[in-house]
Amino acid sequence: MSRATRRAQIAIVLAASMLAGCAPNRPPPGVQGDPQRGKIALTQYACHSCHSVPGVAGSKVYVGRPLEGLDKRRYIAGKAPNSQATLVRFIRDPQAIDPGNAMPTLGVSERDALDISAYLLSQ
């Protein structure tokens, strides 16, 4: 193999892996909703003003928990066993699951909450 073809191959692999990095991660099986739409929706409810959200540009902020690896958490808000349905419920009405915590109710619709949860669970 000539040096040039080798270089070209490396370049192609690099470009492909960069593209793969840009594409949204696939949601784990069983997760409903549209992660792509959820990524935009979460910025429209200012989630990223208090939480650091993987893949979303924002300030270093630690008012709320960082939202990385949500699919690996055992509990939502440290209280309710983690499932997509619970996550959707928490996003829509955090006080119902963890009364007195500082996260307000932001008026998130059912569909938006489902898509936001799909995005968070696929990070």
Binding site: I40, A46, H48, A57
Partner: protein, 200 residues
């Protein structure tokens, strides 16, 4: 007189610089006039651009606020006044502990930060400067011509004491007709401490 060789080198440098300049201007105009940049507030900033702008903002504010003298902060009446101003003008975009911003505040880009953690990012004099002068291209308005100086300081006192507030404290203090009994001791101390911190 330059030798032929030197003349050739100078010529090459000048024409390269000019050529690149022309290409740059034409390229810039194409991008600008083509409208390719997506200006919408649903399209995220590029993370690098966001970070560079944010750093610039921090250095600018540190520099411009450096000579501001901070008065004594934390009298319960002052905190109540600050709470009333906050409820009337600030909570719509910044929200508060357990209180959501309004819809227009939530969907702004850049998103107006929460102020619960303002004390970790800013000194009292910097909060005063930001409130008084606003921040260009961020949506943060200047209040210099709309609030008196003592009202701006009252707002700063309230904001810098916010980390000491529970969800209930915030609700009680910002409620209409709140009196000084709704101001917890911890909140008074927190405001006092942030003014003191700036003296040093």
């Amino acid at each position: 007189m330059l030798s032929n060789r030197a003349r050739l080198i100078v010529k090459t440098i000048v024409s390269t610089v000019l050529g690149l300049g022309v290409i740059g201007v034409v390229g810039g105009l194409i991008v600008l006039r083509g409208g390719f940049y997506n200006i919408s507030a649903t399209e995220s900033h590029y993370p690098l651009i966001y970070t560079v702008f944010e750093e610039g903002l921090q250095y600018s504010i540190q520099n411009h606020a450096r000579d501001i003298q901070v008065p004594e902060l934390g009298a319960p009446e002052q905190l109540l006044r600050g709470a009333a101003i906050y409820a009337a003008n600030c909570v719509q975009c910044h929200g508060g502990p357990g209180t959501a911003p309004s819809r227009h505040g939530m969907s702004m880009q850049p998103v107006p930060g929460p102020l619960v953690d303002a004390d970790t990012n800013w000194r009292a004099r910097e909060l005063y400067w930001i409130t008084r002068h606003g921040i260009k291209m961020s949506g943060m308005p200047a209040w210099e011509y709309h609030l008196s100086d003592s009202d701006i300081w009252a707002t700063v006192a309230f904001v810098s004491a916010m980390p000491a507030m529970t969800v209930q404290d915030f609700k009680r203090m910002t409620a209409a007709g709140a009196d000084t009994t709704s101001v917890p001791k911890a909140v008074v101390e927190s405001a006092r401490a942030s003014a003191k911190e700036d003296e040093s």
